[in-house]
Symmetry: C2
DNA sequence: AAGGAATATTCCTGTCAAGGCATATAACGG
DNA sequence: CCGTTATATGCCTTGACAGGAATATTCCTT
């Protein structure tokens, strides 16, 4: 996993673009309009996504159509595979998992000076 | 998917921490030592990871043990599910996929004005 | 060739995040 | 209580990045 994939997806607008492209390819203008972005920022975001390998721009006449590229998502899925035991074997070590939950009893506020006359 | 997950994983050091915690929980000092980080930055990164919900800190005597929390990874996996058709149905629309690859034959440069004396 | 539409690039600015360093806090051993 | 270990926090500086506005580029149409 190269961190550029995460960097690209970390920006909310870029994430929206990716979600939009999941349905079908869109032109730059379409993306800008449907997401309420300005055209220059849309182009910039698409450049980041392209450099990260998430998106491929296909010139088509006057426009440029943004496609999602499968590879990085597959890589992400492969990477996640090594984390699946975390929640799939959860039942085998439930006690371990329970320790990741906050305790039930309301612990006294640690910011409270505690001086209760 | 909240973008904090991606933001947390976008930093190479934090990513390394997560990869380290995948094996087993580690204390702050262990993480700092094994990754060659300074202790304060390690604490800061762990705070970011904790705020993003990726990590749970469990006090244990003098130390604080960092555990990986399964939920965000599962969320990531669920989110990715909607993208799996991208590469799994690739064969059904191979032509569409091929268009995301650069052309094999050195096509004439479209920016070339074409004037060949 | 000219005008227009679609997109990219540049410059600017504000914001935010990461590392370095010093220091504060917390829990342990004696 | 004191010193030590483990960790957190605060302050500072620097670099990256996102958005805004203007402008450049590319391609189409006529």
């Amino acid at each position: 996993m190269n961190h550029h994939t995460f960097t690209a997806l970390a920006d909310p607008h870029r994430f929206q673009i990716v979600e939009l492209l999941r349905e079908r390819p869109h032109s730059v203008g379409e993306i800008a309009e449907r997401l309420g972005l300005r055209q220059p920022q849309t182009s910039k975001h698409l450049r980041v996504l392209t450099d990260a390998g998430l998106v491929h721009m296909e010139p088509q006449a006057n426009r440029r159509i943004a496609h999602l590229r499968p590879t990085p998502f597959r890589d992400l899925d492969d990477w996640l595979t090594r984390y699946r035991p975390l929640w799939e074997e959860r039942l085998d070590r439930l006690d371990d998992y329970l320790r990741t939950l906050p305790p039930e009893d309301p612990a006294p506020d640690p910011t409270d000076p505690g001086g209760s006359p």
